[in-house]
Symmetry: D2
Subunit: 241 residues, 4 copies
Amino acid sequence: MTNKIDLVDLDSKLQQEPPQAILEQALSQNQNIALSFSGAEDVVLVDMASKISADIQVFCLDTGRLHRETYEYLEKVRQHYDLTLEILFPEAEAVSKLVSEKGLFSFYNDNHQECCGVRKVGPLRKKLLQLDAWVTGQRRDQSPGTRAAIPVVQLDRSFARPGATLLKYNPLANWSSQQVWGYIRSHNVPYNPLHDRGFASIGCAPCTKSIGPGQHEREGRWWWEEATKKECGLHATNIDK
Amino acid sequence: MTNKIDLVDLDSKLQQEPPQAILEQALSQNQNIALSFSGAEDVVLVDMASKISADIQVFCLDTGRLHRETYEYLEKVRQHYDLTLEILFPEAEAVSKLVSEKGLFSFYNDNHQECCGVRKVGPLRKKLLQLDAWVTGQRRDQSPGTRAAIPVVQLDRSFARPGATLLKYNPLANWSSQQVWGYIRSHNVPYNPLHDRGFASIGCAPCTKSIGPGQHEREGRWWWEEATKKECGLHATNIDK
Amino acid sequence: MTNKIDLVDLDSKLQQEPPQAILEQALSQNQNIALSFSGAEDVVLVDMASKISADIQVFCLDTGRLHRETYEYLEKVRQHYDLTLEILFPEAEAVSKLVSEKGLFSFYNDNHQECCGVRKVGPLRKKLLQLDAWVTGQRRDQSPGTRAAIPVVQLDRSFARPGATLLKYNPLANWSSQQVWGYIRSHNVPYNPLHDRGFASIGCAPCTKSIGPGQHEREGRWWWEEATKKECGLHATNIDK
Amino acid sequence: MTNKIDLVDLDSKLQQEPPQAILEQALSQNQNIALSFSGAEDVVLVDMASKISADIQVFCLDTGRLHRETYEYLEKVRQHYDLTLEILFPEAEAVSKLVSEKGLFSFYNDNHQECCGVRKVGPLRKKLLQLDAWVTGQRRDQSPGTRAAIPVVQLDRSFARPGATLLKYNPLANWSSQQVWGYIRSHNVPYNPLHDRGFASIGCAPCTKSIGPGQHEREGRWWWEEATKKECGLHATNIDK
């Protein structure tokens, strides 16, 4: 499946499929595949995956700055699905250096790339070196600036091992927020309680805020920066383009 | 304008008009007219009215159980628009009797009509006896159950003086939530901070809660009751029909 | 007992007694007596009284501006002790006039006497006209400025009916905060959850704040005013002196 | 000063001294000495030290689970005193292993030693290997169970380099909470806002809670465990004894 032409074909085929079918194919066609769970509404993928197989790899990134509600929620999901949830943590030295030199809120001055680099991208990179494929909850409707064109399946060149191929599946690419929440409510999927307090998107506590009626969900993330830069680096390919 | 046929004509004419034009007509054609302000996004009417005349009557209902944020917000609006904001308060005896007999949260058991009757409808009735017309922020998109058909102007038979006519204007009837919030943001209208914490609709503190993504705004009001009963009695005509 | 000399004697006798004994005497020697409950740690009196008689009169003042936690707590106490809790409410016209003219937070500018007058003193006065005696939770250690000398029993000249006598009992006068909380914890008395969030004294929401370590409890009330004025008027005699 | 008899002498001499004098001696007599700052009321040591020298070593332990208020406060202190605040962080692998295997709240089941070991003791141990002496904010009145006998200066055998000596100074050992807060208020020292919300002691968010009137400050820490175990391991010598 590493062939680029095949991948375009596969993508246009999967574009027609519902998330469950995409996920099923992804899980069956890749041995070393894991689901990235952010602690937000991408829990629908955890729910869908748990109905496909009892034995899925799921990981999440604990940046050391998540909301207390998110820590409680991650634990809830772990127990609800009887999941082996791998929780990645940033390197001591890198965090210590950054915050000892620039303080605990440097992202408000600098921009968030450095802090995301240390707390998210670093640990993710290390994890992805062990994988052939990963699954994310990215959706086109999340960000007009950076996610309008994400495919259902793509080559992830940013995080692939040298000489190897890393596939990235976005089974929710074509789902709207409406559909995601329809699924959550009709399947009684446990969700992060911050969503009921005005949080649309959920990331680190200092870099996420609740939004008001008529605001786009991405306005609650890194609100001091421009819309076209609002990616943390996990989805670097979105910006490269 | 008390003629029913004329009113239907007037309504179908006003249906084509933007809220500002409706409000302008309402204010110019009725001497004894007041704007009812709830402390929520109907602040757009206060903003529009303040641009038409420096001297508008605005009243609101302090039920004695509003959110602290709403009290602060009412004060903010009063000062921002240099408004004479008449704040109505429920009758001591009626409140005291209800809560001494049934406790402070009887509405969760009984239903909210009795408490709304004492805290909202009573004070409103007294006020409307002094008026020829009133203006509300009702919108069709607020409630599929009870507000789908509200006209722009109507006879208010529930609250009219005996033998007299009371007109009720709903200038926002045809506006969507989207349009209301577009106005608020583009005109920098001060809004209730609860809106940024997941509150779509705002009423009394024990009877309003924040809602999550994909929920209808009315799901945050009297959530233990059926959708078709979700009116407090201020807009009794919506339910009569 | 209306004789002044007798009262001084009675007071010095009661000074030696524990709160329970004082309360027992007060309840047995006055037919028309009621307990004033503020929704704070004076709940110990409700607990003590409920062990003396199943049929005590208890009232509290709902000013229309209490904390949500206090409303919930009042209801909890009502149910826990199966109490007839009379909840007094301020006069509609007086509140409406004050807040329509001066706004909802005039006390921060004016001082709190006018608002307390309308929301607390007025309703209390009306209630006390029906009584021969009332019981309060005042303690000497609450306020160096105004409560250092409160007796256990006293004539209440501020609120007595013309030509009649009103007795005021303060059974906790000599108890320390320590003793009150010792009682609450050892008897599992339900208490206002605000006490666990730094609130020592509890009154209206806009006029009460939590305090830090080493602050006196009265520093959390009407903090923009001088210590010697920190009475709402319920205990006017404290200031007259 | 490594002689044990000399140390007992030094301790009994320092017992008579005020914190500032103890701190001054500690800083002048040890070249490689650092102050451990917890983000709570031990800020008085930071304030005192800043008045002795512009160039003090201060470190704190970011466990990855502090309150948002504490992160903001650490930053505030850093800026207020123009401090080089070294922020230590736990090892990625150790945290990841613990929480991936046992979940994010294992301390509620197991006890807090394992989590404190990974998040606090490990990083501290690494830091103390570089030092000859450290300064802490421990006080005798903090914990009847574990801190009643802490000296002003002691040998820290738990964290010393092999073959070397590590001194531990507790300049506040004999100060009461009252004195600490007296200092904070009279010197306008910035303090953690959690202290105004009922928090006496402050540690990790899931393991600290606010306390009510009449509770001892240590009741807000690891409240599901016995009083004699309430040390995180930083002060292991307190328990050894």
